[in-house]
């Protein structure tokens, strides 16, 4: 503890440890003594201390923020909140079938499940609540609901169904628009946005748009077949607490497949028979799985 004049300049590691209070008495006293005699090193230590205080000041307010309800629910709810490992497509497709089967039985018997399904037509009022299969995990304001609302709003649109149209102009102009669309949406959503190729199912990409959302932006891709029928794919980063299971929901003529996979939420919405929607959803799911594979049509956004 005697402040002898230390012959050696404490190196950065030692000075840093001194700042963090990690040095014991004698070692600490040595550094103290050195800093008393060397103002330039003392100034450096003060700068570091100021940086430390600035970091604390920047992040300390997070402590006082209210804990989001979803996180609170995760902690307090029964263990169902624990995310299951990703279910394989076949399994989830079967599960989706079972859900629909259950709904039919419920509807026939007038049971609870049937009551959950028997909702009003979302197309009558875009903002109207969709009835959910899984009332515990899905809220009316949840993203699959917003996917359905966005479909109901934009799919009937004749002149401006999308913000970025990739179906106009020459082939090279279309390709340029596709690249632009994927990059733009990817940047705004802060996640990979792949323009799925649904031509095998007879659907051409019309384009896409960015959707405003209180929880962060989301995107809508629109596809159309030769008969003028449209399906939309809704993409977003999943909200905390979002269900990861693959699910199917039908309301009136509108069908919705949705799931959360590796950091993104995806919903396929359309006024199509379930089998046809399932085939489309399967194509989307597979292409999302092979995410980084460029499609043969060069739909891979230039990086």
């Amino acid at each position: 503890m005697n402040p002898t004049d230390s012959p050696e300049r404490p190196d950065d590691v030692r000075l840093s440890a001194w700042l963090d209070g990690e040095l014991d008495g004698p070692a600490r006293a040595e550094v103290d003594a050195w800093l008393r005699d060397h103002p330039e090193d003392a100034a450096l230590a003060r700068l570091w201390a100021a940086d430390r205080d600035a970091l604390r000041a920047r992040f300390d307010p997070v402590i006082d923020e209210p804990v989001p309800a979803a996180l609170q629910a995760t902690v307090l709810q029964v263990g169902r909140a624990a995310v299951e490992p990703r279910a394989r497509w076949r399994q989830v497709a079967v599960a989706a079938g079972l859900l629909v089967g259950g709904a039919l039985i419920g509807a026939l018997t007038g049971g609870v499940v049937g009551a959950q399904f028997a909702g009003s037509d979302v197309l009558q009022s875009a903002a109207q609540r969709l009835p959910w299969v899984d009332a515990e995990r899905l809220r009316p304001g949840g993203w699959p609901h917003r996917a359905a609302v966005a479909h109901a709003v934009y799919a009937p649109e004749v002149r401006h169904p999308v913000e970025v149209n990739v179906a106009q102009g020459s082939a090279s102009e279309q390709r340029a628009q596709e690249e632009h669309l994927a990059r733009w949406l990817g940047k705004r959503l802060d996640m990979p946005v792949k323009l799925f190729d649904l031509r095998t199912q007879g659907f051409e990409l019309v384009g896409g748009r960015l959707l405003p959302d209180a929880q962060g932006p989301s995107a809508q891709l629109m596809y159309q077949n030769g008969g003028g029928q449209r399906v939309t794919i809704y993409l977003r980063k999943p909200e905390a607490g979002a269900s990861t299971a693959f699910r199917f929901q039908r309301d009136g003529e509108l069908g919705l497949f949705y799931w959360v996979e590796d950091g993104f939420g995806c919903a396929l919405v359309g006024k199509l028979p379930r089998e046809q929607l399932l085939a489309l959803a399967e194509a989307v799911y597979k292409q999302a799985e092979d995410g980084i594979q460029p499609s043969p049509q060069g739909r891979k956004p230039a990086s």
Binding site: D12, A17, I63, L71, G186, K237, A240, I292
Partner: protein
Amino acid sequence: MQAPDCFRQQLLTAVPRLRRYARSLTLETSAADDLMQTALERALTHWHQFDQRRDMLVWLLSIAHNAFLDQRRRDSRMSFVDPAQADAQQDLVRSDPGADVGLRIDLMAALARLPLDQREPLLLVSVEQFSYAECAEALGIPIGTVMSRVSRGRVALRALLDGQDTSARPEPLRTLRRVV
């Protein structure tokens, strides 16, 4: 077997501090809460592995640290969007509003540029006020490594704030540095 209520209460008490760390690590609210979600789910699944004699926050931060590495590993597979992701992150950092705009933007941008293996120990020691021993435990690295990384992080952060951008570009998101 499900986590008992007392464990859940303990967990809930730790949430605000865990969120602060998640925020400082991801620099973005929604990404931080996604990370929180994953970390909390893992904590609930592995509740029986928690030794009550230990500090729960250290245990939780080590879970969050691993979850973050896993997330980056997944992101690294999505290689073709990395430039856009990086851009978006940078935009976000730059557009961060605040009373003390100049200082904040510089600080956050500098932090974003710090390599993860320096950023994590520096944040744990500076913001969470962990001891080097606790930091070593949370990150699963020796104390000596904590010491040197904290100091390197400090020097690098100061250099960035002084406008000496030694690395010249933010660390690419795809780069995963496995902490040894």
